[in-house]
Amino acid sequence: MMEAQTIPKPIIPRFPSLKFILRAVAVLIVAALFFVPNYVEDTYILHMMILIFINVVMGSSWNILGGYTGQYSVGHAAYFGAGAYTTMLLLQYKQVAPWYGVWVGAAAALVVAVIIGSICFRLRGPYFVLASIAVAEIFRVATLNLKDITNGAEGVLITEIPPLVIGGRLITDWASKVPFYYIGLVFALLIIGVTWLVRNSKLGYYFQAIREDQDAAHSLGIGLTFYKNVALAISAIFTSLAGSLYAVYVGFIDPSTVLGLDVSVQIVIICIIGGIGTITGPVVGAVLLVPLSEALRSNMITDLLIKVGIVGEETRMGLFLKEHLSQAHVLIYGILVVVTILYMPAGIVGFVRRMTARKARA
C-alpha cells in the first residue's frame, strides 16, 4: 500500500512552536471537554457529543487495523454488534450490570475477531475486503434468525439500568446523559492513547511495515497473520466498547442498526474523510460527520437556508429540500467520499498537512 507515502509529515523543525501550540490547544480542548457538562444544560448538545465520542472510538479502532496495518475491513459491524448484543443480552436476561457486561462484550468481540482473522487474513486486498463483508453479513443473518437468543428482528430493548453504587455510595442512576458523556469521553481518550502507543511502539512499526509491503515485511521475519490478528484484536475490542456504549445509551438495538453493512461503511467513511493512518483523522472525521448527518436528519440545514433567504419557504425548491434533505445524509456521505478520494486522497488531515508543508517550503 502506498497511501502513507502520500501523507507528508508536517515540517516540524521549521515550526517547533507550531507543534507546541497545536499540542497545547489539544490539551486545553481535552481539559475543557471534562467541564462541558457543568456548563451545558442542553441535552441535545450532550447527545451530539456522546455520538461524536462513540464515532471517534469506532473510527480510531478501525484506524489501527485499516490505517496502520493496511487491512481494509468493511465488516467492523461484526465487532460493534458483538459488543452491543453481549452487553444488552446479559443486562436483559441475566441482569448483569453493563459495566461488567461491557468487558464480556469485549471478550466476545475478541473471540469473534480471532475466528474472523484466522479465516480472512489468509486473503489479501479486495478479497480480504469482500471476506470481511461476507463474515459480517453472516453474523447479521445469524443474529436475525437465532430468535431464541437474540430476539431476532424485534431487537433488544432495555428499560432500566441498575444504579451504579461503589462502596455504598451512589455514583449515578443513569437518569441524565452526563454519565454517558464521561464514559464516551474516557473511551475516546483511551483509544487515542492506545493508537499513539501503538504507533510509537515496535508493534506499530511491524504494523506499518505490513501496510507498506507485506512480502518485504514477511521476508524480514514479521509473522503476517499473527501481527494482523493482533491489530484486529485491538481494533475489535475497542469497536465492541463503542458498540456496548451505543447500545446501553440508546437502550435499543436490532440486527440492522448494529450489524448492518452501513455500520461497517460508516466506520470506514469516518476514517477516509478524516484521514487514514493518522491519529487525528478519525477525530476530525467524527467531529465533521456526526453533526452533519444530525443536521441533515433534523432538517436544520434547510431551515437555515430558508432563514438566510437563499431559498424561499414556499417555493418549490424549499418544499423539495424540506421533504428530501432529511433523508439525504447517506447520499451526501456518498458524494463526500467520492470528492474526498478524488481531491484529498489522504483525507482532511493529510490535506492540511500537505498545505502546511507546502507553505513551509515556499
Partner: protein, 303 residues
C-alpha cells in the same frame, strides 16, 4: 424427485440473473482489479427504468399480444441504454481520475458511488417498494409436476442469448481481444497501441448493459423492487464471479448458476431463513479452499 427438479429449475432461473450481474463484475475486475460496488445499484436502476417505462407502455399499448412483446423488448433496450450511460459516467467521473491511485481508493469510491445511487434512488423513486408491471401475460406451465412459468423460460432464454453474445464479444472480436490484452497487462497493452481508456469505458458500458437486462429480468421474476434492492444481489453476484474464477465469462455464468441453485435448495429446506447468508459461506469456503475459483488459474495476489 419433483421438489428436487422444482428447486433445480427455480435455482437455474435465479442463477441466470446472478450470472448476468456477475459478468459485469468479472469484466471490470478482470480489467481494473476493482470490485465495482456500484454495479448492484446500476442493476437496481435498470429495474426502475423497466418499472417506469413498463407502466407507461402498458397504459399506451396494453399488456397482451404482439404490441406487449415489442414494448417489452423496447423497454429492455431502453434499460440497457440508461444503464450503459450510467456505467460510462460512473467510470469516467469516479474511477478514471483514480487510475494511478492505490486500488483501495477506487474501492472506497465505488462504495461512495453505490451510496449515491442507492440514496439518490430513494429520493427520486421514493423509499417504498414498488410493484414491477407485468410486461407480458404470465402463464403457468406444468411439466409433469414441475411448475414453471413462461417468465422463467423468458429469463432463461434472454440470459442465454446475452451470455452467448458476450462470449462472442470477448473471445471472437477485435475489441474482445483488446479487452483481454488490457486485463492481462495494462501497461503492455497501452504500449502496443491499444486505447486502454476506451477499452475500459466500453467494458463498463457492456457490463452495465447486462446489469440493465438483469434488472428487467429480476423485476419480472420478483416484482417487488426498491432502491436498496441492488445490494444483496450485487454482493451475491460478486461471490458468483469469484466462485467461477473471476476473470472468465463461462466461469461467472457457472458461478451464478451454482449460487442460484444452492440458494434455491437452502430456501426449500428447513434452513430457509439462512438463504441470504449461504452465498457468503460459499465465498469464504471457496476463498480458503480454492482462491482461484472453479475455473481460474492460480496467481499469487500481491497487494
Amino acid at each position: 424427485m419433483q421438489t428436487l427438479l422444482q428447486n433445480l429449475l427455480n435455482g437455474i432461473a435465479a442463477g441466470s440473473i446472478y450470472a448476468l450481474i456477475a459478468l459485469g463484475y468479472t469484466m471490470v475486475y478482470g480489467i481494473l482489479k476493482l470490485i465495482n460496488f456500484a454495479h448492484g445499484d446500476i442493476f437496481m436502476i435498470g429495474s426502475f427504468v423497466g418499472y417506469y417505462a413498463g407502466n407507461w407502455a402498458s397504459g399506451k399499448l396494453g399488456t397482451t399480444g404482439v404490441a406487449a412483446t415489442v414494448s417489452a423488448a423496447g423497454i429492455m433496450i431502453l434499460s440497457m441504454i440508461v444503464c450503459g450511460t450510467l456505467g460510462y459516467l460512473n467510470e469516467r467521473i469516479a474511477y478514471r481520475p483514480l487510475r494511478n491511485a492505490p486500488r483501495i481508493a477506487s474501492l472506497i469510491t465505488a462504495i461512495g458511488v453505490s451510496f449515491f445511487l442507492e440514496y439518490g434512488g430513494q429520493m427520486v423513486f421514493g423509499p417504498d417498494p414498488k410493484f414491477f408491471p407485468t410486461l407480458v401475460p404470465k402463464n403457468v406451465i406444468n411439466l409433469g409436476g414441475v411448475v414453471t412459468t413462461n417468465y422463467q423460460l423468458i429469463v432463461l432464454a434472454v440470459a442465454l442469448v446475452f451470455m452467448g453474445l458476450l462470449q462472442y464479444i470477448v473471445y471472437g472480436t477485435k475489441f474482445g481481444r483488446a479487452m483481454r490484452a488490457v486485463s492481462f497487462n495494462f501497461e503492455t497493452a497501452s504500449l502496443m497501441g491499444i486505447p486502454t481508456d476506451r477499452v475500459i469505458s466500453t467494458t463498463f458500458i457492456i457490463g452495465s448493459m447486462l446489469a440493465g437486462v438483469a434488472g428487467i429480468l429480476y423485476g419480472l421474476s420478483y416484482p417487488r423492487i426498491d432502491p436498496l434492492m441492488g445490494i444483496l444481489p450485487g454482493l451475491k453476484a460478486f461471490v458468483a464471479a469469484v466462485l467461477g474464477g473471476i476473470v472468465n465469462v463461462p466461469g461467472a455464468v457457472v458461478g451464478g448458476l451454482v449460487i442460484g441453485i444452492i440458494e434455491a435448495f437452502v430456501g426449500g429446506s428447513q434452513y430457509s431463513n439462512y438463504r441470504d447468508a449461504i452465498a457468503f459461506v460459499i465465498l469464504i469456503v471457496i476463498l480458503l479452499v480454492r482462491p482461484s475459483g472453479l475455473f481460474g488459474k492460480y496467481e499469487a495476489e500481491k497487494v
